[in-house]
Amino acid sequence: MAKPVVEKKYTLGERIYLLEILKGMVLTWKHFVFNFMASFRSGPHTVPTTWQYPEDRREISPIFRGEHMQTLDDQGREKCIGCGMCAKICPAQCISIVKAKVPEDQQELYAGKTYSSSFNIDLLRCIFCGFCEEVCPTNAIVLGQGYELAEYRREGCQRDKARLIENFRLARESGKLKPQRKPVIVAEPKAKPAPEGGAQKDPGVQKVEQAKPKKAAAAKETT
């Protein structure tokens, strides 16, 4: 419904206009004085509406989707089983992954029977959608809080496995890990992770599966 046009009757003072300008100037003066004083105050975030960025960072949400990290479990073992689902779901195709069997002498380093012998993420392609995190059956890949990802060289934007685990260590030390949202399947890893997890009878996998069709639909929409 259209709003009716109301012809406003201006008083003489309003039509002379100078008084109204003076009123406006008083208002801007108040703002100016407040911010002028604030600029002398020490400490970060002295002005209510802006953040003085490098010194003064915003609180970011715990579920923020920033730089990736590879998680370790409580015993310090890698959770990644190298199934490649993240690489498959990734709409930007930024993850490249090589799967390998865990050697006999390195069982204590990996949680599963298989592991990813190489795991690279190209951050220049990544769109930070978080599908890899959603799809991961072991919660091995998680998007963290890091957002200062600018580099001077292209090579600087590649993330290998060591760097991703380092990210996780740093996040754990500063207590910035996300709350767990999915049950973790570490005890009985699948010997052969199929992209369609329909044949599995494991209850944990069942839950993952419930979440999956939605994500697949979303992925279809995006592609």
Partner: protein, 346 residues
Amino acid sequence: MDDWLIALIKVVFIWVWVLLIAVIMTWVERRGASMIQDRLGPNRAGPFGLLQPLADGIKLFTKEDIVPDKAKKILFSLGPILFALPAFSAYAVVPFGDKIVLGGKEIILQVSDINVGFLYVVALGSMAVYGIIVGGWASNNKYSILGGLRSTAQLISYEVPLGLALLAITLIYGTFSLREIALAQQGTFLGVFPNWGIFKQPLGFILFIVTAYAEANRVPFDLPEAESEIVSGYHTEYGSMRLGLYLFGEYVNLCTLSALIVTFYFGAWHLPYINMAAFLGPISYGIASFLVFFLKVSFFLWLFVWVRWTVPRFRYDQVMGLGWKALIPLALINLFITALAIQLTI
């Protein structure tokens, strides 16, 4: 030869001083704007961001100097020069202090005290429009031409009330010389007020300050460069130091207009109720008068910034209507009343 040297020193001094003020004004404008808008503004370069103008200058100097393909090459380079030149020359007649005695020689703190100083200022004010017109025309861009057109119409309209408001001032002081006008504002008037132009010409002051904003193309009359309507008006196609010259000329213009407002209406270098010459030595009096003058000027420079971030822009027809239907009749009435008052009191 001695007089030549003194004149040269005065010219160089006031030129450097005005340049410095214009440079600082770019910083004041940006920080003032941000503080009015609840931000902090550029505070990284140097203490309080004071080196920001230097950084801007380096940026403008080192940028590529692009002349558009279809532009008129000669006119395109001529535009910024034509704009900045009148702005700088107007300072030749502004008295920036009373006088200073150095080595037994009395030096008047004014580059040249010509007896038509007032008209000289008006003449140069009307010349500034050519820089805008030439720049707008030579750019061969529709927004530039619109900016130039608007500026032409606006300057013609506001030249008239500006001149009429100043005529009332000359009626009161009986001279065209800016120094004599400044000297006549000492002491008090009717026993209470300082003998300043604003107390004798309150309406004239309002007229002058409104037209001064229009002459300087400042908000609320910044139609020639209205960003939200015509990109950035006459200097849309300009870049690097040519653009720098336009922006610089604008601030020098502001400086000149503020100095004129102070000279005509705010007692130039006089303090109210205090006669500085009575208790200060000849050298310290000269310096003090200069400082007082520039303190007042800096207030009006700040007022330009303050108003800019308070008031929205007028519509084009409103600007024209205000000029022709309100300011010119008011200026004529003001002139008539002034003449009548002088006729009755003499």
